[in-house]
Assembly symmetry: C2
Homo-oligomer: 234 residues x 2
DNA sequence: TCTGAAGTAATGTGATCACATTTAACGTAG
DNA sequence: CTACGTTAAATGTGATCACATTACTTCAGA
């Protein structure tokens, strides 16, 4: 089994390959917020012409992973308090929906895969491997939700993940520096327990808890007052 | 005041102009589901080279308004029962959120604009102008939600609208043919009443009712059993 | 040391061409 | 008239060049 489920995909076009390379780099937190990227820079880095890069960046800007500034420059968007709160309000409702939707389809093999992913996730913490930690978090969620075969939900969630990924590094660098992992409840563990118990409400609670932890972590890392993000209808 | 709020936008690039032209055409129901479009066809129609069209279609495929088939062809995606149900489950929660979010920001001028839009919307029914009817429906919702200045929600909703727009024509062609407009409750009217009353719950109910009417209309037009689409948590 | 202007390098956009793949058209054998 | 290869047209992708605009460097003056 591979660390990254879709790492060995064969791409039909260069544009597709470039897109997924950049996408994974973003989800690993390799892109610094506010920093700009250039067509020719990426093209020479990946040894392709401008065309595949142009179309890849067009996709990523459409997904709000990157931003076209008025200067005609392409950059990683900055985060604001309002934007972060909006993202997490949406994440909470949609990811709870996605998790509950997936629950009936989780068989033993899928459960084992989730457990294995969570182990690797925890191992990344132990190793201080921030990039893998950030990435494996998304992969855990994606693997879970994909079991419900969501055609419409999934692209929306991936877009939201791309928007917050560049800021995740700040959260965990701070936590690693201070060394206080104890505050971090393992909501993934609780989600797995809920799955085993077949408890839909507990699974939803675990996902919601995971979201809230993430939101609070980001807010404190940005130096903002960690105000609670309310669910729709309490 | 204009029928279409953003009709007279000056575009900085050709790609942007082509994108918004195609986008509006889709939202007007001008695109037939399953029908394929070609780069050169659109390019010659709009009198531009392939480049702006390529990037515009890349954007639209990323937003799921169009689809890249394995044959290397670009087409309007087909709808399925599962997909439609998924879209409307998401629309219900997100658009209720967007409406409630916008409510405190609706001043007299904004209210007047909404009323005017709704009048034009109703006038389009009377004139049998299906394309304007379809389009003005989206514009009404967008104008309402934009008052809350949603940065993250709005692109998601617009993507969902692009996905259902090509199928709206079927709904209203059937209704116009049968001439039974009486079944159509004017949920927009009720939304406006709720806004005037400042009643958040009533506004949410009106939006949810509008969504459910739309879902049922699409399901019956597609010849599917019009099963109720449940909200999250009942 | 700092400020500002002139010149240079770099950037995204648009256009054009070449190519592999796919689709459509055509004509021939049955 | 039908079925089936063969040829021709059309399609999305990739590469390269030109260009207007923006950003950076450099150097003069205070």
């Amino acid at each position: 089994m591979n660390t990254v489920p879709d790492e060995k995909i064969e791409f039909k076009t260069q544009q597709e390959r470039v897109y997924y390379l950049l996408r994974e780099a973003i989800l690993r937190g390799k892109f610094e917020p506010g920093k700009s990227v250039t067509l020719r820079g990426i093209a020479s880095m990946l040894d392709v012409s401008l065309m595949p890069v142009r179309e890849s960046l067009r996709r990523l800007t459409t997904e709000r992973a990157l931003e076209l500034l008025s200067n005609r420059r392409i950059a990683v968007p900055e985060m604001t308090q309002l934007k972060l709160e909006e993202i997490y309000r949406i994440r909470i409702v949609l990811e709870c929906e996605a998790a509950v939707r997936a629950l009936p389809y989780i068989d033993d093999a899928a459960l084992a895969q989730l457990v294995a992913l969570n182990e690797k996730h925890n191992k990344a913490i132990a190793n201080g491997d921030i990039e893998n930690y950030i990435y494996l978090n998304f992969i855990f969620h994606r693997t879970l939700y994909n079991l419900g075969q969501p055609q419409v939900l999934m692209p929306i969630l991936e877009s939201l993940w791309l928007q917050i990924a560049p800021f995740m590094r700040m959260v965990y660098e701070e936590i690693f520096a201070q060394g206080n992992f104890s505050d971090m409840e393992d909501q993934h563990e609780q989600a797995i327990a809920a799955i085993i118990a077949g408890d839909s409400d507990a699974l939803e609670a675990a996902i919601r808890g995971d979201m809230l932890d993430g939101a609070i972590g980001l807010q404190t890392a940005m130096g903002w007052p960690p105000q609670a993000i309310s669910l729709l209808k309490g």
